[in-house]
Structures are given as structure tokens and as C-alpha cells.
Subunit: 509 residues, 4 copies
């Protein structure tokens, strides 16, 4: 029912030709949303001198939406701006008005917003606005923040924005652009990542440029360096004065009753391995997920005269965990080898029409093929980052068997996904989750058609996420695995449950 | 000057709804050409009963060009057809008339053609036609075959086509469609791969469907099984009678003075690893390239207290060779580990405009990022399938160093590319080839900025291609590495040179 | 500064396949706006049964925006709906959000609106909303009515809409669609026309369909019959009960201090001659304008041996008035003949780029050509409906002279346009109006390059509009000719002035 | 079966920025073809200095196909060029390859062609080429001229072109562009008009620019002056030398057995009234057609107390003839008045989908409406230029009656169309022609629903075309009225018949 806001966001301030940096940053964040893309900049009207916010946004990939150099030369002028990639849950949800960033011309000035996440009090806010007769132009939660700002009784525009941000709850990372500020916000739980970067020399006249991004891979793209994460609950106000003073920006804290609960699924699947989020390289965590899984469910033993078993990832998302798994198995003395037994076809059209055939199967076949010779008469251990519905996994397993694998063992580098996400991840209904359709892992394995199936345990996942060194003591949300929702999503979810998974020290955060 | 015809082709005969099989087959061959795509089928006009060949072709990826289900339901009717993916050398070559398949309505019937390759006697043919006043509608060599057919003095259409095919020389794999046949052709040298597949039960009424494709991965996509390669110099005529008789089709041989010389670069880079070409899985050959390279240029030794050196591929094309290399190095006792240290961003827009920056560098950064934590203080051995211009390699090496690699060693799983290809591969001019710009491998390494650089030797490549078992005795073309062109491309190229690399037994083929 | 809302509107209720009637109705009203077009219908969601309002709107002509039959078969379902054609003042004003009809999903139900006109209290309303923090999604006045509705304290939706309509002032004709009503509104001055029509048999089950349109030519198009004009200040609520009861609908009156002041320029130029507006056929009024002009400024006398003078219209808008003029001149014994001496090229592209030449001149030449032989050595009396900037007229006169006219006399079937319109007509600034740039009609004629120039007098126009029979006693707005604005547009405009032109009986309306 | 080539053509030579003149010229000729438009210019490649012919062509109106100023600034460079508007018979004939001008790169140089007409020996030529194995890229006759040129045995390119032109028969007007000449050709019968114009001062250095156009209205558009018609059978070769010498160009004559037979339907309907063709202004001829019709079938007498009968045209094509008719009737003392009782809606979308209704009726209603008040209780004489199928006429008559006309009398300013045109005019099959479906004019009138019906007689048409002064003695083709085809179209058509209608003196032409 609610529209998912699983997205990539990027903002930059004090950078000549801001739009081109945003263009590259959004391209690096393309994996976080492929439905639509948009950029807003802040400049002054050449005729009137009034502050204006030119915008360009459309359905499509970043490189396609911004395929006209004139957009950068003539239209998206200015040294500050924000951008947004949007995730598509279904094609039918294509509502043009929902393409972000949103921009409004407000009596106190212009205001633009790019939003990754969901507001948990959206229903209440929407109801309250609706009763006052406020009209909505989009179906997204993000618009509520604009109305809260516009209807704030505070005098200064910045204070109105802060006033608004204090009133929203849920799972969100935000960048906002006013005529004078770039504002970066993370919800108090810190569900979604958001990082601060710096581009250029802080000692130059006017100071360096500062940027914020969902993931640090966007900083690498433009040659910016990572400064720090935006803290859970932080409202960071980037302005010219702060830029000139070496990045000394004002911060505000959103009050909260909840502890920190960062989305563990960002590590498991969603973020890019070359990003650093929540204080740790994704690649490193993902490798440890593989290592822990190897300890819990190593490769099966085979006869001495059998070919060496091969460990293969479902490419590309399971590549890193599989390397960790294979290395750990080898280290423990198991006979096995990392291999690439599935080939992924990355050419994706805008439309897949699946003429005359089973759509789901053909979609899998359009994406993956097996390397036949390699699999022949092999014990194959195939590893995926997670199983949600299970349809892709089942088709892949059949393809592996058809290619001659003597046995197929499935390993999953996270626990069974049993609960929907109310904080921005696009999972299906509870009933559609594979793990809820069977009574045991064995039965799931049977349905998938594997010789053995093993998920990483919740404990294993926790160890992998916290790592060897114990100074990573932040809390995480694992509600999709546990059902313990850290922020109440309705009457049924108690506060106690929400915090069960959060580490002890997190409560003070 | 000449237009490159590096493409993917697919044909099918005796298959209800031929077009949908072609659609999937072309998608599997998307890597062989992304500029344009087209499908022609053979059917009869619903009003007149006359044989007609509906066609649809446009610029774009397969899934985009064919994004309207009505194309399959209403337009591309019939149980036979051919399809084509075209490779773009530059955006400026976008001549709509060149999009294949070509179709002509000829006095003897309809004729459609999809072509992968170049004709070496194109200039002579074109001159001769031009003198007779023949007008050309495209700038592609492929059209010459249509004129040869149309102007043949033979009586039967099939004989005209065969007559035409006997007159062309060069490097080509072709599928032709007449109102009654699907014809698959490989030039006598067998430069480009072309395979025959079967779909469905040969014992059913009317027999199985038969298909031909540039690579066998297209058969996997539609569930067809590989039958055999089209032989170098073979003209295979697929008709209804042959389908009904278990695939007993008529073959004709194109006479030749040359031996077989299959393109070795198909193994090195171009084909998909999950395809079987020239009698061997590409994955297997590519792995052996890595093994041979490991024997010639293993990972460097490092201090005992140094971190384990990592072997990383330039993804995805070097993945398989790198696995072979890393496994062989480990087997030989070198301390090293296969890793994925470069992340590839597969989201590619139709247009990359590179606003405001060095276009080449940003194109590399848009495609690749490093996994910083992994590379820190490491000895990194990075392996690529080949080096052509070297610009991408140089940028990647800089990125690896910037991410903290203590030393970077580059390995290439083929010899230096020193000569242009006249048989369909899109290499730049001789002067632009990196290997021709320096006097030694050391100097190249210096320009690239590596601690060491090693190419696989020609001998090593030969061993890898022929494999351990010696029954693979076909000849290969390695002209891009050796300059020995198996078919004369102009006065300078002697016949002797061309055959130096071909194995002894190949001359009798 | 303010966006012009010069448009065509159409609504229909109780008509199966409402959208197709709207499609045809809007096509008939195409002359009132060519920038964009849109249709909204009212139906129930096939899954939930909830009332929904499917909408389709885009830039372009009606026949182009609705060029997909599926829109009518699958999307714009329902037996009630409204549509809108929008006028473009400049290409740069292309703001997609402004395309009407506007639709909002409101707590009391769905609400759609199509609007022709301007609100005179828009600035005050906008300011008041803005201070309360209401955000706007469009730059059009029309949106204010939606906010007024949404923020109304009335309980029932219909009452909220009526409440809102009571608060707006200015020049507007509106159709609104709720889930249960079609509401037609004309401002108390009745600036813009709006008529009620009936389609089908009122005695059939459920009653006839009722429709409203800017002009009655839309009724002719769909075979509906004219019932009556919507009265100035009337809010007519069309519902199912009223349809079943022979058109017995509820009406509400918007209170007003002003008299009726219908836009006289609708008669002069804007409406189609085959429409009946303000109680009279446009054709008839326009003919009388020509007759009055003939009485005031007949054709000049010429020598007996000269060719017969010809009276020609600037096609097509001046055709009817010219017929009236020529007939009256003939009746009065002047030697002259109606002719068609200017040919109009009706092929208009979406873009006119005027390469390499004076844009204005080429635009005139792209639209008009002279009939050379006819004009040779003639006294030519050319008649246009009005002169605004005068640039087209000047070019035409030069073309007539170049074609051999011995003398050119210009006649205009209305007085000089001297004041901008604040009620929806798209006139330029006061300074750009030709009549304000010269001290006398003679000087204007000199600049235009004519032998004589005559405008219709204000008295003459009044006589023509009221006609022979005196029961047409409604008031008209002639502010563009007189500067007497019937509704204050700012502090300077006094109420007295506004009513000077309104007839005596109108004050009681 | 054969594709109609009813088109507008334009060429210009020795004019800087040739393309922009062609653009305007084609716009003026838009009425001759609305399906597609194209321009080719002649220039030299900026790199190689070789002569090249840039081309741009697409489906759509001129102003739409050429909506990018860059086309003129960067692409269509050169001081010579030709252009073409193509007529669409049906939407299904949309074959992109057929869009003209055609351009080929020929061994002797570049050659472009724009063609208005049909070749009567196309079938024979096509067969002969086909037997020699020539492949065709289009389905249009025009391509045959290109093959004839390319296969000519003459040495010089110009001679090859002339050689080719000598071999074609039929009804055509052509412009060809070589790297050095603009060639204008009219078939020996002179079926289609083609005129020569001059732009600029012939005494300037290099001489004036010379242009050719289907109709002289294109000269008016660009400010060129009419020089003379291209003579039937003339091949006029415009080159630089001739331009420099005041227009002293070389001409060649196509030998012929036939007399001149210019298409009379160009006068009746097709050409613009502001054009001069075949030596006479179209407007003048069309007026005389009305005068002759008035003499043969004047307005009916009505009672003295009846309203004055009105004479109305079907706009816009019958406007001029109706003026002639009404004036002549008045002169003869009949009580009647010219009026505009039908209003034409000129807004035409690219697609008309006619949702849910009788397509033909709605198409008529989308184009025409009646002026109700005017028609009430009137005797109405409605005049159209011709009747082909009669469906539009029948709907219009019904609309006039529905609007209150007391009686409707139909007058047609040409004889009954009884025979198809084989020379380029797009008439339906013989059976579909209204006049062939009934035995008498009375029966046709009955089917149309009129009180009286009268066509102009063949004699009357002849008088109108030849005019009062007798020096217009050229022959005309009236085959669509008489069935006397001046050029044999198949075995049945005898040469004698063809010349029956041609005037005596024409045989010597």
C-alpha cells in the first residue's frame, strides 16, 4: 500500500558546477534506484537576481535522464544542489509527480528535498494535514516534510525546516536544499546510511566543497574524501560560513526514545561492496558473513575420487561473501574451490516483455546462464546473499542440475527473511516470503530442489557485522529476520521487542 | 574506412513463433553488438498467400527494440526467421540503412541476410558492381551478397544464393533466409564461430526445429541443444524435408586455398565464457590462458610479514582467466589469493556525456571502483584479458594505487596486440595500439605505472588454446598478435605469412 | 507575470463513454487553446469499488494527445467527465504541472477542475494561503479553488465546493467534477461564455446526458442540443437525480456587487462563428459589426473606368464581418465586390524555426499569400477583426501592394485596442498595443502603409452587439477598448468606471 | 497497387543557404503532400573536399520535420538543393525507404531526385531490371530513374542522367541534383506543373539564384519571381555558367508521340488558388468554372416572400469557384447571396482515432460545422469543387438540413468523376466513384439527399480552362471525366482515345 522509498541520494555545496558532481555521484548510486533520477540546483535568476532552483528529473537511469550536455551548461547552474535515484517496486507505480527531488517555492524561499526511507508517522501526519484541508501532489511520504516546513510557525526558513524534521519519525536519510543551506539528516535510529565527504582543499578561498551521499562509493566517483557518517538523529546544516571554516557546521539532534538500529540488510545485500557504511567497508562485512557461514555450514565432504567441489556465487551480489566462505572452508581443510559457474548477462532493456513463455523463468534465464563444462559431475555449493521469494533460486538450481552438477548445496549468507520491512526495504508480504511457507529449512530445501540448504544464523550474522574488534557497538535493525521492529509500526509492535536486538550500549545513544 | 561488422546472429527454422526464440537468442548474444537489433521472419501474406518477410529493426538493445508484445503477436509471424545484433564502433556511424538483417524482395522470392564479419574482396566486388551501374543502399559488405544473388545466372533461388556465397572471400558467418530455407554459412577459414542447435523432439511430426547462432549460449537461453559447429567453408541448407528427416540437411563447401584460421580473440575476450565455440568451452580455454600465464609470470614473492598478495581480475571479462591464474599460482606454492578488488558498475546509459571533465577518465570511473579496505598495503596482481589502447588499464592502475596498494603488477592473458584486425574485430589503427608505441614491455609497464608487467607468450596462448588433449588440431588466426594474416588483405600480406600460425593438418581441411 | 488561462472547457454527465464525447467536444473547442489538452473521468476502481478519477493530459492538440484508442477502451472509463484545452502564450511557459484538468484526492472524495479565466483576488488568496503554509503545485489560479475546497469547514463535499466558489472573484468559467456531481460555474460578471446542453432522450431510463461547454459548437459536434447559457454568477449542480427528472438541477448564486459584463472580444474575434454565446449566434453579431463598419467607413469611391474595388477579409477570422461589410456597402450603392484575395496556409507545424530570416515577416508569409492576378490595379479594402500589435497587418499590406493593388484601405471591425485585458484575453502590455503608439488613427494608417484606415466606433460596436431587437440588454465588458474595467484590478480602477459600459438594467442583476 | 506519387517538389541552385529557401518553398507546397518531407543539399566534405549530399527527411509536415535550427546551421550546407513533400494515400503505406528525395552515391558522383508523378512504363522497366538482378530499395517508380542513370553507358554523369530521362514515360515532374547541376524535367505530356523562378539580381557576381517548384506560390514565399513554366518534355539543366549568364541554360527535349495533356484537375482542385500553373492563375480558372456553372445551373427561383437564397462553398477548396458562381448568378438577376455557411476546423492531429462512432461521419464533423442561424429556413445552394466518393458531401448535406435549410441544392464545378487517374491523382477504384454507382445525375442527387444536383458540363469546363482569350491552346488531360487517357495505360487504351480531348493545335507541340 505505501510507496517504498528505497533510493540513493546525493548533495553537494560550495562546488562550482555542482550538477556535474551530482550526476556522477548519482551514477555511482544507481544500484539504489533505477526507476527515475533527478537533480535540483540552487542559483539566482539571471534577470531578477532572485534565488531559483532549476530542476530536471525523469524516468530512467542517470546517464539517460541527463543525456543532454545543455542541461549542465545552461540549465542546472549553481554551486549547490541535490540529486535522487528512485527505486521502482512495480512498473504500474509510475507516477511522474513522485519523481524526486521535490521542489517547492515557499514564502520563505525555495526548498528542495531528496529522501531515502519511510516515515512511520506518515499516516498520522497525512490524516492531520488532510483534516486541515492540505492537498497533496504526490503519494510519497517525503512531501509531508515540505508541508510541515511550510506550515511551521517559526520565523526563519532554516528553523522551519528544523522544526519540520523534529516532527517526523521513521526510517529516513534526507538531503534538503534551501537557498542558503544544504541540510543532511538521518533518522534517530540511523536506519539508512548517510555520509559526509569533502572535495578540494579546505584552505582554498571559500573553503572546500562538502557533499553527502547514501554511500561512500559516490565520493570515490568524484574524487571526494570521506569525512564521517552523519550521526543517527543528526541534522547537519552545511553553509558557506562552515565551508570557509574548514567544515565547522552546526548540528541539531532529533530527540528520540529509541536506540540506534541501522539496517543490517544494507550490509547483506543492498549497499555496494566498495562503500563504507555504518563505519565499516561493506566488502569486509560481507566477507565475514561468508566466513561465519563457512563455520556453521561448510562444504560437504565428497569421495576422494570425486572432482573437487566448487563454491560459486550468484553473481554479482553474493561474490564477496562467497569468497569469504570459500577461503574459510579451504582454511579449515575442506576440499573445495571458488569458481564462477553462473554467468550474468548485464544487458537490461527498459522493458522485458517475455513473449510467449513463463515470464519468471525467462527473466531468470535472461539474467543468468551456467558454465556447463565446469559444472559437469561436480558437487556444487552455490551461495546467495539472501532468499526472499525463492523463485529465482529455484530456477537457478534447476539450471545447475541441468548443466550436470552431481549435487547442489545452497548456502545463504543471512538468516531466513521472515518479516516485511517497514523501514524502506522492498520485501513482499509476509505470506509471500519463502521462509514463511514451510515449517523447516529442510522443507524449503526440498522445494528448492537442493541436496542441502543452510542459512547463516542470527548469531553468526551478528558476529560478522560487529567484527572481531569490539569497538563497533552500534545497534542494528534485523527486523526482517527477527520480527523485532525497533520503531513501532503499529499497535501490535511493542517497544520492548524493538530493542531486543539492539546492543546494550546502544540504548544510551 | 570500412564499417566493422562485429555482430551476433541467430536463425531458426521449423519453430512456431520463431520470432520469440530469436528475441531470446539475440538477448543472449547482446555482448556481440549493442548498437542495433533486428528480426525478420518468413510467412505468407494473409490476403494474397504470397510469401512475405516481415521485419522489425532499430537502434538499441534487444529488449528495447522489441518492447512491444504486438510485434510478436501481429507482425513477426512465422515459423522461420533470422536476427542480428550490431556492434557500434562509433556513434557517428549511425546509418539506419545499415541495420541488419537486410531484406530484399527479389524476382525469385524474398531474401534476408544477417552477417557477422568482413569480406576481403569487398572492394573488388563493389568496384565491379559499380561499373555495371549497380546502386548500393547500405555501406556494408553484406549487401554485396544480395547483389551477387540477384545477378546470378542460375535458375533456382537456392542455387543463386549458393552461387553468390561461392564468390565472397573473407571473414564471415552468415545466416540467410529464403522463403523456403534457412542457410547458415561460415567462411572457409572459419574466422567467426557459428553453431547448429536443435529444439524439440526430432521424432515429432514435422521434426524438431533447428537453429544457428554465433555462440551456444543462445541455445541455452531457449532450451535448445548444441548439435555441432557449422564447418569452415560449409553452406548448410536447412529445409522442411531435412527437419522431418532428423536433421539430414544438404551441405555445400566453399572452395578455398586457405587453411582454417579461427579467431583466437574470440577465446581471449569476445565470446561469453558459457559458450562453446570452435569445439571447446570458452571458460575452459580462458582458464588455461590464466594457467599458462601463471607458469610464465607468477605472482611476485613478498616478505613473510607482508599481507598475502591478492590476484584480482578486471571484471567481468578477465574473471575466468584470473581464476585459472590464481589457482595455478597457489598450486605452485606462491602465496596469493583470488579476490575481487575492482567493482564494476553495470548501469550503462545510452549516452554518456561526461560533463565538464576528462571524458576517458570519467568513463573508466563510471565503470569501475576499487574496494579500498581490501587493497590497503597489499601487493596487488591485476589481470586483464588484453590491452589494446591501454588507457583504461592506466586509469585502473592509478585507482588501485590511490586505494593503498603497496605495489601493482599487471598480467595480461594474451600477447601484446600489435596489428589491426581485418576480419571483423574492432581494433584501432596500428599506431594507436599501445604495444606499438614502446620498444619493450618494460617501457609499456612504466607508462602504465606498474611495478611489473607480463603478457602471455604466443607459445603459451597456443598451448592454452589447443589444450592438453591433442585432438584439437584446427588452425587459428592470431594475426592481431603476429601480423600473419591468413587471408591476404592487400599486396603486402604474403600467403606464406598467413599460414605460419595454422597447424600442419589444417592445410588439408 | 500572471499566467493566462484562456481555454476551452467541456463537461458531460450521465453519458456512457463520457470520454469520447469530451474528446470530440474538445476538438470543436480547439481554437480556444492549442498548447495542451486533458480529460478526467469519474468511475469506480474495479478492484476496490472506490470512486476514482482516471486522467490523461499532455502537451499538444486534442487529436494528438488522445491518439491511442486504448485510452478510451481501458483507461478513461466512466459516464461523467471533464476536459480542457489550454492556450499557450509563449513556448517558455510550458510547465507540465499546469496542464488541466487538475485532479486532487481529497479527504471528502475526488475533485477535478477545468478552468477558463483568471481570478482577480488570486494574489490575496495566494498570499493568505502562503502565510498559512499551503504549498502550491501549479502556478495557475485554478489551484486556489482546490485549496479553498479542501480547507472549507463545511461538512459535505458539495458544500465545500460551493463554499470555495463563493470566495473567488474575477473572470472565469469552470467545470468541476466530484464523485457525484458535475458542477458548472460562471463568474457573476459572466465574462466568459458557458452553455448547458442535452444529449439523448430526457424520457429514457435515467434521463438524458447533460453537458456544458465554452461554446455551443461543441454541442453540434456530438449531436447535443443547446438548453441555455449558464447564468452569470450561477453554480449549476448536475447530478443523477436531476438528469432523471428532465434536467431539474439545483442552482446557487454567487453574490456580487457587480453587474454583468460579458467579454465583447469573444464576439469580435475569439469564439467560433458557428457558436451561440451570450444568447446570440457569433456569426450574426460579427456580420452586424461589418454592417456598422460599412455605415461608418464604406469603401472609397473610385473612377468609373477603374476596376471594381474589392473587399477582402484577413482569413479566416474576419470572413464573416467582411461579408457583412461588403453586402452593406453594396446595398448602399457603393461599387465593390466581396473577394478572397488572401490565401491562408493552414498547415502549422509544432515548431516554426524561421531559419536565416526575419522571424516575424516569415511567420506572416508562412500563413498568408496574396492572389496576385486578382489584386492587380485594384482598389483593395482589406478588413480584419482587430489590430493588436499591428505587425501582421503591416506585412500583409506590403504584400498586397507588392501584388499590384493600386490602393489599400484597411478596415477594422472593432475600436482600437488600447488597454490590456485582466480577464483572460492574451493581449500584450499597454505599450506594445499599436493604438497606444500613435496620436491618431491617421498616424497609425501611415505606419501601416495604407491609403485609409478606419476602426469601428465604440457606439457602432455597441449597436452591433445589442442588435436590432432590444431585448438583449445584458452588459458587456469592453475594457480593452475603453479602459473601463468592470471588476477592479487594482487600487487605481474605481468601481464607477467599471460600470459605465454596463447597461442600466444590468445593475440590478 | 501502384504507389501514388502525388507530391510537391522544389529545387534551387546558386543560392547561399539553399536549404532554408527549400524549407520555405516546401511549406508553401505543403498542400501537395503531408505524409513526409525531405531536403538534400550539395556541398563538399569539410575534411576531404569531396562532393557530398547531406540529407534530412522524415514523416511529418515540413515545419515539424525541420524543427531543429542545427539542421540548417550544421548539416544541410550548400548553395544548391532539392526538396520533396510526399502525399499519403493510406497510413499503412508508411515505408520509410520511400521518403524522398532519394539520394545515391554513384560512381560518377552523387545524384538526388525528387519526383511528382507516375511512370507508365514502370512495370516494364522494373521487370527488365529485375531480370538483370537489380535490387530495389524502395517501392516507388522514382528509383527506376536512378538505376537507369547508374546503368547508362554514357560517359559523363549529366549525359547519363539525360539518357535515363529519355527512357521513362508517364506523368512526372522531376528535380534532380548532381554535384554540378540542378535538373528540372517535365514529361512530354506536361501532366504535372513545374515552374522556373529567379531569386536575386541576375547582374550580381555569379548571377541570380534559380529555382523550380511545382507551383508558383513557393516562389512568392521566398520572394522569387516567376520566369516561365518548364515546357512539356523539357529537360532543363541549371548550372553555374548559365546562372552567371542571366539564366541561359541548356535544354533537351524528350521525344514523344503524344500531344500535351496537362492535368485539368490541378485547376479544379489540387493546386493553390494563388499559384500560376499552365500559364494561368488557378484562382482565375476556378472563378470561371463557377461562372460557367452558373450559366448552366443557376440558383433556383424562390418565392418573393422567401428569404434570399444563399450560395455557400464547401471551404476552403470551393471558395473561389463559389464566388464566381454567386457573382454570375447575381449578374444574371437571380436573387441570391454569397455566404459562409460551413465553418472548417483546421486543427488536424496526426492521428484521428474516432473512438466509439462511425468513423466517416465523425471525420466530417471534425472538419465542418454549420452556421445554424444563417441557414434557418433558407434555400441553400452549396458548391463543391468535385465529388469523388460522395460520402463527405452526403454528410454535409444532412448537416445543412439539420440546421434548418429549407432546401439544399448541390452544384459541382466539374463534371462527374468517372475514371481513375493513372497519372498521379489519388482517386479510388472505378467502382468506388460515386458517379459510377448510379444511372443518372438525378439518382445521385437522390442518394445525396438534395433537392437538385448539377455538375458542370465537360464543355463548360473546357471553356473555363481555355478562358476568353484564345491564345491558350495547350492540351489538357480530362481522363478522369472522360476516360480518354492521353498516354496508354494498358492494352485496352487506344492512342486515338487519348488524344480526343487534346486541342487540334496541341498535336504539333
Amino acid at each position: 500500500m505505501s510507496v517504498k522509498d528505497h533510493c540513493g541520494i546525493f548533495g553537494i555545496f560550495n562546488a562550482p558546477d555542482a550538477a556535474r558532481h551530482i550526476y556522477y555521484g548519482l551514477h555511482a548510486l544507481q544500484h539504489r534506484g533505477q526507476e527515475s533520477s533527478g537533480i535540483v540546483t540552487s542559483t539566482t535568476d539571471s534577470d531578477t537576481g532572485a534565488p531559483v532552483m532549476p530542476v530536471h528529473r525523469d524516468f530512467g537511469l542517470v546517464l539517460d535522464v541527463f543525456d543532454d550536455p545543455k542541461l549542465f551548461d545552461d540549465h542546472l547552474i549553481g554551486d549547490a544542489g541535490i540529486g535522487h535515484n528512485r527505486y521502482s517496486t512495480t512498473g504500474s507505480s509510475q507516477n511522474r509527480a513522485n519523481i524526486q527531488p521535490l521542489v517547492v517555492h515557499h514564502r520563505k524561499g525555495n526548498l528542495a528535498l531528496a529522501h531515502n526511507g519511510n516515515l512511520s508517522n506518515a499516516r498520522e501526519l497525512r490524516k492531520s494535514f488532510s483534516e486541515r484541508g492540505t492537498l497533496f501532489q504526490t503519494t510519497s511520504d517525503s512531501e509531508l516534510i515540505l508541508h510541515l516546513t511550510a506550515q511551521s510557525r517559526r520565523q526563519k526558513h532554516l528553523n522551519q525546516v528544523i522544526d519540520a524534521l523534529m516532527q517526523v519519525e521513521g526510517a529516513f536519510s534526507l538531503v534538503l536544499l534551501t537557498d542558503e543551506h544544504l541540510i543532511a539528516v538521518r533518522d534517530p535510529n540511523g536506519f539508512r546510511p548517510l555520509a559526509l565527504g569533502r572535495l578540494g582543499d579546505p584552505d582554498q578561498a571559500g573553503g572546500a566543497a562538502y557533499c553527502v551521499a547514501s554511500e561512500t562509493c559516490a565520493f570515490d566517483m568524484i574524487g571526494a574524501e570521506f569525512v564521517r557518517d552523519i550521526r543517527p538523529g543528526e541534522i547537519l546544516v552545511i553553509d558557506r560560513e562552515g565551508c570557509a571554516n574548514g567544515g565547522d557546521f552546526q548540528s541539531y539532534e532529533i530527540p528520540t526514545n529509541f536506540g540506534v538500529s541501522q539496517c543490517i540488510f544494507e550490509y547483506v545485500y543492498f549497499s555496494r561492496p566498495d562503500s563504507k557504511i555504518f563505519g565499516e567497508m561493506v566488502d569486509k562485512v560481507r566477507r565475514r558473513l561468508g566466513v561465519e557461514l563457512a563455520r556453521e555450514a561448510p562444504v560437504p565432504e565428497v569421495d576422494d575420487d570425486a572432482k573437487t567441489p566448487i563454491v560459486i556465487p550468484v553473481p554479482d551480489s553474493a561474490n564477496t561473501a562467497t569468497l569469504g566462505y570459500a577461503n574459510e572452508c579451504a582454511e579449515q581443510g575442506y576440499r573445495c574451490r571458488f569458481e564462477l559457474g553462473l554467468i550474468r548477462n548485464h544487458y537490461v532493456g527498459r522493458t522485458f516483455i517475455a513473449p510467449g513463455q513463463d515470464r519468471r523463468e525467462m527473466k531468470v534465464r535472461c539474467k543468468f546462464n551456467t558454465v556447463e563444462g565446469l559444472l559437469q559431475d561436480r558437487t556444487v555449493i552455490v551461495l546467495d546473499d539472501s532468499i526472499v521469494r525463492g523463485t529465482t533460486a529455484r530456477h537457478l538450481i534447476k539450471m545447475l542440475r541441468d548443466s550436470g552438477a552431481s549435487s547442489v548445496h545452497f548456502r545463504v549468507s543471512c538468516p531466513p527473511v521472515t518479516h516485511p520491512c517497514f523501514y524502506g526495504m522492498d520485501f513482499p508480504n509476509k505470506e509471500e516470503l519463502l521462509a514463511n511457507q514451510f515449517d523447516s529449512v529442510e522443507e524449503i530445501g526440498e522445494w528448492l530442489g537442493v541436496d542441502s540448504l543452510a542459512y547463516l544464523s542470527a548469531e553468526g550474522m551478528k558476529r560478522a557485522v560487529y567484527g572481531a574488534n569490539s569497538n563497533n557497538t552500534q545497534g542494528y535493525c534485523a527486523a526482517c529476520f527477527t520480527g523485532n521492529y525497533p520503531v513501532p509500526v503499529n499497535m501490535d509492535a511493542s517497544k520492548d521487542e524493538n530493542e531486543m536486538w539492539a546492543p546494550a550500549t546502544a540504548e544510551a545513544a
